[in-house]
Symmetry: C2
Subunit: 183 residues, 2 copies
Amino acid sequence: MALEHAILVSLLEQPGSGYELARRFERSIGRFWTATHQQIYHVLKRMETDGWVTAEAIGQGGRPDKRSYSVAATGRAVLTTWLRAPVQPEAVRHELAVKIRGAAFDDADGRAALITEVERYRATHESTLERYLTGERRDFPGTGPLDTRQRLQHVVLRGGIAYERMVLDWLDDVLATLRGLDR
Amino acid sequence: MALEHAILVSLLEQPGSGYELARRFERSIGRFWTATHQQIYHVLKRMETDGWVTAEAIGQGGRPDKRSYSVAATGRAVLTTWLRAPVQPEAVRHELAVKIRGAAFDDADGRAALITEVERYRATHESTLERYLTGERRDFPGTGPLDTRQRLQHVVLRGGIAYERMVLDWLDDVLATLRGLDR
DNA sequence: CGTTGCTATGCAACGAGTTGCATAGCAGGA
DNA sequence: TCCTGCTATGCAACTCGTTGCATAGCAACG
């Protein structure tokens, strides 16, 4: 429903091929909107048919052609309309929370396994936070004024950083709680 | 893939009908796993066929029968296996973040509309936080010891509270940033 | 020289989840 | 009395998204 719009924003920031978009979704955009390359190719095809984007084939010698996409006037209009529409409430899916409540119906062994899992999970969030902070130091060193686009990118990144810090604090709380149960 | 497990946890906490489950998903469980009544009825049927849950028909005079579900031994075993499996990384879908980055490609009018939207969005999160805090005061007043289930429910609720507080802080940051652009 | 991995795109099949609609009786308010 | 809303379940059609697989050439490593 909204992958189209995430793609439009990404292509406005920088035109590119489906493959390049897929890589951006693994990095920058993927912080707040995930998508596989399949889904991206599929949606790009439809967007091209509907005239939201235009494609330019770029030959590259031996390799298969690259199709570089840019946003067309129709796509820009669609995006503007969407931007002014109400924000839909997010569909929350937090598997770990389900597991924690489920741990009440498992034994001490199961809870020990969950503690190990939470520690592993915590480590991935810790490295995510590191990555965000590295990116922030690189892109927003605080020297010189920022334009509109950069200021908006920065505030979204700050959201990601705040989220990761909150998660890490909560996971410490979870670990302390789990460890306090079987003792 | 994991709605089954959320249902199993909810039914272990308290057996009930599809309708009752749907209402729980609007309230308690829905904090970290959303589902419509359609999806719940569908999955319950399959779980019954697979022997994960058993249903008991409860006649209610004139009204259609209620089918109250309980977790069977197979279902408990399935849940235990799942609880010990690695936690899958969450698929993030944060529409507002896409809109904020997209606002760089809209004009001042569009950004003014976005500010209004963010304010409305902020108000819904504020009332969500209020609801959580009210529930916390009611269910965990701090008098007397808690059993395992309650302690786990409380730590999940604390996660929800921390999340809402983080969101509110971030939305203030977003509003300040948006207001700083066109001035 | 073979294996691995990267760029680059795509099909086919499936599973997950939403939306609209339908039924049916009861309770309560305008 | 009519309308709204709640309990209680379900079908049908659709969209969204994932998974597995396939192709194809090139570069780098051992």
